[in-house]
């Protein structure tokens, strides 16, 4: 009868008060931007970190992606936040993958990579994209700094129960259609607030056939549909990914862990507050035209006309978005030129993403008008990509090959758009100014972004790679 979410929740209830339960938190990931005030608050109240061994800290948002970062970080604020993280982690006895650690990377990449994120756990981070980790069949969610402080002090959080939504994706995806296109299509379908108040479980044969990397891309952007939680039931793909990773259950406990994990999937008769279906067999590569992730369309489409939108609030929003993006209704998406290309972020910087982009880049050249960046999600992803020769494919084509970090996803480090610049980006948010003040973002998959880098405009990768 219960869903995957409900089963995990049930086993984490410490106590209850009215419509809230005190939920025990198994794992806590910490980065430099949303944690300093939490540590300061803890210290001001004379409290200590309850279970430092349940935590892992990493700097990612502020770090430059150029080699000079190990010598000196120019920006004072960035330097101070990274230093504060270092001191706070050291002071509390929290494991830290520091800036020069080969395991350093984007927090949502390194958690799974280390084996820390496992089925059936609760895991939090002061970052809205923590839902990424729900791909392992976990309750994973983003929290604010006050909640970070609360978890540091108590290893628990007061939570209301979210509604339950099931998104079933079925059908075989065509060539060059990727998990990014699945999630963009889901967000376009239910809207940027369609998932507010819900935990969303992704199910169906298309999801089952995805790798862990692909599943993480899907869960990563659940928050862009408003849902704080995205989940996928654990299966053999999950177990195979985890086996042997440094923080995964050791051989002596492995069989017991897997036996436990197999009990987690939603029961067949589980009750859903909402169900949504998506047919992936006729899905096309998607691109956003506006300033909300819900503004996604198949690449063959045209910029929509707000004039035909019946709802006045939505009409006003679309007009504003088109003005910001400097686009006119009716323009073909493939006629939009780009200045920058960003391949990276917690959405699309895992090894599969880099392979997909490199396959398009290999033997081709970045367009003369384009600056293109590839930023691996972690030092380990970078190393693996280099072992596979992907860095050569990118460098030979004229892409820049950077060090790991959040990079151009959010305008907190030197990788930023300048006002008016237009970017084909594999990140997750196309909000006004997200990639830098006045910057314009078009979200798409890594293969599509690579195609945009080659052609100098938004392009259908199926034509470019043919």
């Amino acid at each position: 009868m219960p869903t995957l979410f409900e089963k995990i929740r049930e086993r984490h209830v410490v106590t209850a008060r009215e419509d809230y339960v005190l939920l025990y938190i198994d794992r806590h990931l910490v980065h430099e931007v949303t944690s300093p005030q939490a540590f300061a608050g803890l210290s001001a109240a004379g409290r200590s970190v309850r279970r430092p061994g349940a935590m892992l800290a990493v700097p990612d948002h502020n770090v430059p992606t150029t080699p000079d970062r190990s010598v000196r970080i120019e920006d004072r604020g960035s330097r101070e936040q990274i230093q504060a993280l270092r001191e706070n982690a050291l002071g509390a006895g929290i494991a830290l993958f520091d800036i020069d650690d080969p395991r350093q990377g984007i927090v949502h990449i390194i958690g799974p990579e280390s084996g820390l994120v496992q089925p059936g756990i609760t895991v939090v981070c002061g970052d809205s994209h923590t839902g990424t980790l729900g791909a392992f069949g976990a309750i994973a969610f983003g929290i604010g700094t006050s909640e970070v402080e609360h978890v540091l002090a108590t290893q628990a959080l007061w939570q209301k129960k979210p509604l339950q939504m099931r998104v079933a994706v079925n059908g075989t995806m065509g060539p060059f259609v990727t998990p990014k296109d699945v999630i963009l299509a889901v967000i376009a379908k239910i809207g940027a607030s369609g998932g507010t108040g819900y935990a969303i479980e992704f199910a169906g044969e298309t999801i089952r056939k995805m790798s862990m990397e692909g599943r993480m891309t899907v869960c990563n952007m659940t928050i862009e549909a408003g849902a704080r939680f995205g989940l996928i039931a654990p299966d053999e793909v999950t177990f195979a990914y985890l086996k042997g990773r440094p923080l995964a259950p050791p051989p002596s406990l492995w069989d017991a862990a897997v036996a436990d994990w197999k009990t987690l999937p939603s029961d067949p008769d589980a009750a859903w507050d909402r169900e949504v279906a998506l047919d992936a067999s006729n899905l096309e590569p998607h691109v956003t035209w506006g300033t909300s992730p819900q503004d996604a369309l198949p690449v063959g489409g045209v910029v929509p006309d707000p004039g035909v939108q019946p709802d006045p609030s939505e009409r006003a929003r679309m007009r504003r978005a088109l003005e910001y993006m400097a686009l006119s209704p009716g323009t073909r998406l493939t006629d939009i030129p780009v200045d920058k290309v960003f391949i990276g972020s917690c959405t699309n910087s895992r090894i599969e993403d880099l392979r997909a982009a490199a396959a398009v880049a290999k033997g081709r050249k970045v367009h003369a008008n384009v600056t293109a960046l590839v930023v691996p999600g972690s030092g380990l992803v970078k190393r693996q990509a280099e072992e596979e020769g992907l860095d050569r494919a990118f460098l030979d084509a004229g892409f820049q090959w950077r060090l790991p970090g959040c990079s151009m996803c959010l305008g907190m480090n030197p990788d930023k758009l300048r006002p008016g610049e237009r970017c084909a980006s594999t990140s997750n948010r196309n909000f006004e100014g997200r990639q830098g003040p006045g910057g314009r973002t078009h979200l798409m998959s890594p293969a599509m972004a690579a195609a945009a880098a080659i052609t100098g405009r938004i392009a259908d990768v199926r034509e470019v790679a043919r």
Binding site: A92, A192, G411, P419
Partner: protein
């Protein structure tokens, strides 16, 4: 740490947009701080100022009639996007104590409650009428009564709103939630002892 929420009767500030995201509320470059204070400076920066740093005269927060207002009224999905609590700190530092909207992002909503700021969810039609009234007659007052769970618009219309009882108590009393939770420390200890037996692999701790 949180402020008590007291009832308000103040100028209502209309921000007639939907999907106001936390990057718009406080751009990322303002997050490079290790303090909670002083963030009001960056609030809605890209909308308040032009590229040369000059105030945009038409933006509601810059119009004299709305200055000093403590209640922001906006569209659907307010606070979507990033989990940055800096968005709430920036709104509060600027002077806001409540936001009224047809819906809020879940994380922003929770972040408000942790800081003594009240997110009020009203039906879309009620929010529309409030925004229209505040745009038509700038400077109109909006009253927010948490104990009675009502909003009174400039035209005297009263709108009831819901709030979870636990959240309401925390807001009215300005409770320190961590202190409250620590009264359950014994239960947390007990929980950990039990879970160590059933799922020992989750207690193989990381070395600091």
């Amino acid at each position: 740490m949180r402020e008590k929420f007291l009832s308000l009767s103040t100028v209502g500030v209309p921000l007639d947009r939907m999907n106001v995201d936390t990057d718009a509320i406080i751009p990322a470059r303002y997050l490079k701080t290790i303090k909670r204070t002083g963030l009001g400076e960056g609030l809605f920066f890209a909308w308040r100022y032009d590229m040369d740093g000059k105030e945009q005269p038409d933006f509601p927060l810059n119009r004299p009639e709305y200055r000093g207002g403590k209640v922001l009224v906006s569209g659907e999905n307010f606070g979507c996007g990033s989990s940055r609590e800096h968005a709430v700190w920036a709104l509060m530092d600027f002077g806001f104590r409540a936001v009224i909207a047809p819906s809020f992002s879940d994380i922003f909503h929770d972040n408000c409650l942790k800081n003594g700021m009240l997110p009020v969810t009203l039906p879309a039609a009620a929010v529309r009428s409030l925004i229209d009234a505040l745009l038509a007659a700038p400077g109109g007052k909006v009253a927010v009564d948490l104990a009675g769970q009502t909003v009174t618009g400039p035209d005297g219309d009263i709108h009831a709103f819901g709030v979870a009882p636990f959240a309401k108590t925390c807001l009215l009393e300005g409770l320190d939630e961590i202190a409250l939770t620590l009264t359950s420390a014994g239960e947390i200890d007990r929980y950990e002892r039990e879970r160590k037996k059933t799922t020992p692999w989750l207690f193989l701790d990381l070395a600091g």
